[in-house]
C-alpha cells in the first residue's frame, strides 16, 4: 500500500457552494430553489414524480421517473479552474431499486452531466463526457466522492466513509467545458439514490497543478530507454502517438529488474496487451484486438494484485492475479518497435489525501 501525503494547512476553506448537509427532514415535493441556512448558494430541484425527499440526513429518492428526474442542480455556474473540486457523500445499497446516480459537473443543468462520479448498481464509473469507464465494484456502504477539475479532464476520487485516505480511481483528460453547474442526477428510471454533504471547494497545494499529485511527468515525445518511477499502486498513462509498423511498443512498469516486470504492448495491428515477464519469459495475460489508433491514450491502473487496462476511456480487461513484483516501482519505455512513437507518460499514486478535507 502506498500513501502519498499531500496535506497542507489544515484550515477549512469556505465552499464555493454548500455544504448541503440535508439535516432537516422534508417530504416531496421539495422547495425549489432549495436552501439551507448554513450552506452557500441554492439548488434547483427537478422532481416531476415527487420521489425526492430529505431523510436520514440526505437528499435521496427510492425510485425515479427517468433520466435527470429527480435531479438537483446548482442555480449558479462555476468557471473551470484547476483544483476546483465537487465533493459529496454517496451511498450504495443493493436492496430495492438499483443505486444509480451521478454527482457531477453539468453544462446545461438538464439531462446527463458531463464530468464526475457515477454509482451504477454496484459498479463505480467515471463520467468523462459521453464515456463512462468502469473502475471497479462497489460494496454496500457510504462513500465520500470527489471530482477535481484539471484544465482538461479531472481527478476522480472515492473513499469509504471512515477511511483516512482517498483512492484516486481514475484520471481523465479531454473535457474542457466551462462554466458548469454542479448536479445530483439520476441516470435512469426505477433507480434510487442517496447524496449528502454536497459542496464545491477550491483545493490548495498540488491540486492547483494540472497534473495534481503526479509522481512523475515525462512530457513531449519519448525515446526508447526513458525511465520513470511510480508508486507500486499507481495509475499510469501514455499517449500512443504512432503505432509501430512492425514489432511492438513495450512499456514496462512494476519493473523489478531487466527480466522480471509487467508491460503494456501495442503492435502494428493496434492490439493492446498486458504481459507479465518472469525470469525473462513473457506471458500475455490479457489482450484487446485492434483497439489502438494513433493518438490514443492508454491507462493502466495497478492496485495490489489487480490490473485494469484502458484505452480511450474504455476498460479493456482486468487481470486479478498480478501477484508478482507488486512492490516494484520502476517504469521504462523499453521499445518503440519500428516507427512507433509515444508521448507524455504520467504516473499518479493510487492513494492520496485532500488537504483540509480529511
Amino acid at each position: 500500500m502506498d500513501l502519498v501525503l499531500l496535506d497542507g494547512p489544515k484550515r477549512r476553506r469556505r465552499p464555493r457552494i454548500g455544504p448541503f448537509r440535508f439535516g432537516t427532514d422534508a417530504a416531496a415535493p421539495l422547495p425549489s430553489p432549495y436552501t439551507e441556512p448554513a450552506a452557500r448558494g441554492s439548488l434547483a430541484i427537478v422532481d416531476t414524480g415527487f420521489h425526492a425527499s430529505i431523510s436520514s440526513g440526505a437528499f435521496q429518492w427510492a425510485t425515479s421517473v427517468g433520466a435527470a428526474d429527480p435531479a438537483a442542480y446548482s442555480t449558479t455556474t462555476f468557471a473551470r479552474k484547476t483544483g476546483r473540486a465537487l465533493l459529496a457523500r454517496m451511498q450504495h445499497l443493493a436492496a430495492g431499486n438499483p443505486s444509480r446516480s451521478y454527482v457531477a459537473w453539468d453544462t446545461d443543468a438538464a439531462a446527463f452531466p458531463n464530468e464526475g462520479v457515477r454509482f451504477d448498481a454496484g459498479t463505480l464509473r467515471a463520467k468523462v463526457g459521453a464515456d463512462e469507464p468502469v473502475c471497479g465494484a462497489l460494496s454496500e456502504g457510504l462513500y465520500d466522492t470527489g471530482y477535481v477539475q484539471r484544465s482538461s479532464g479531472g481527478f476522480h476520487l472515492i473513499r469509504a466513509v471512515g477511511e483516512s485516505v482517498w483512492q484516486l480511481y481514475y484520471v481523465s483528460i479531454g473535457q474542457t467545458n466551462t462554466p458548469m453547474y454542479v448536479g445530483v442526477v439520476v441516470p435512469t428510471s426505477n433507480a434510487k439514490g442517496f447524496v449528502d454533504n454536497l459542496r464545491v471547494v477550491d483545493l490548495p497545494g498540488v491540486w492547483r497543478d494540472d497534473d495534481g499529485p503526479a509522481t512523475q511527468v515525462l512530457s513531449g515525445a519519448r525515446s526508447a530507454g526513458d525511465t520513470y518511477t511510480h508508486t507500486a499502486d499507481a495509475l499510469i498513462e501514455r499517449i500512443i502517438t504512432t503505432r509501430p509498423s512492425a514489432g511492438s511498443i513495450v512499456e514496462r512498469f512494476r519493473e523489478q529488474d531487466d527480466t522480471n516486470h509487467w508491460s503494456i504492448q501495442v503492435n502494428s495491428a493496434g492490439d493492446l496487451s498486458l504481459v507479465e515477464t518472469v525470469a525473462g519469459a513473457p506471458t500475455t495475460r490479457g489482450s484487446s484486438a485492434a483497439v489502438i489508433v494513433n493518438g490514443n491514450r492508454v491507462m493502466v491502473i495497478a492496485d495490489d494484485v489487480v490490473m485494469r487496462v484502458y484505452s480511450s476511456n474504455v476498460l479493456r480487461y482486468t487481470y486479478s492475479s498480478a501477484t508478482n513484483f507488486k512492490a516494484a516501482t520502476a517504469g521504462r519505455l523499453a521499445s518503440l518497435g519500428t516507427g512507433g512513437a509515444v508521448s507524455t507518460i504520467k504516473a499518479w499514486p493510487r492513494r492520496v489525501s485532500l488537504p483540509g478535507w480529511a
Binding site: 493496434g270 487481470y319 486479478s320
Partner: protein, 82 residues
Amino acid sequence: MQQRAQIVTAWTVVDGANVPYVPPLPAGSSWMDSTGQDAASLLPDPNTVVLEVWTDAAGIAALDGDAAITVLSVWEEPDATP
C-alpha cells in the same frame, strides 16, 4: 461488445512468449486470463487456460466454430465491460 464467453484453450509459444490460443476476433474484442496460473507452470503441463472473452456475435461464432477450444459458456450482458 455485449457478448461474453468463457473458454478453455491452450497456451502456445509465439516469438518466445506464452500466449493463449485465441482465434481471430473482431476489432474491439478483448480477453483476459481468468486462471492466473504461475508463469513458471504453464507449459507443458497443464497447458490449459480459462479465458474470459468480450466480443460480439461474430466473435462468438468464431469461438464456437474453432475445434481447438472449448466454449464453456456464452451469455449476453448489455453494457458489459470487463
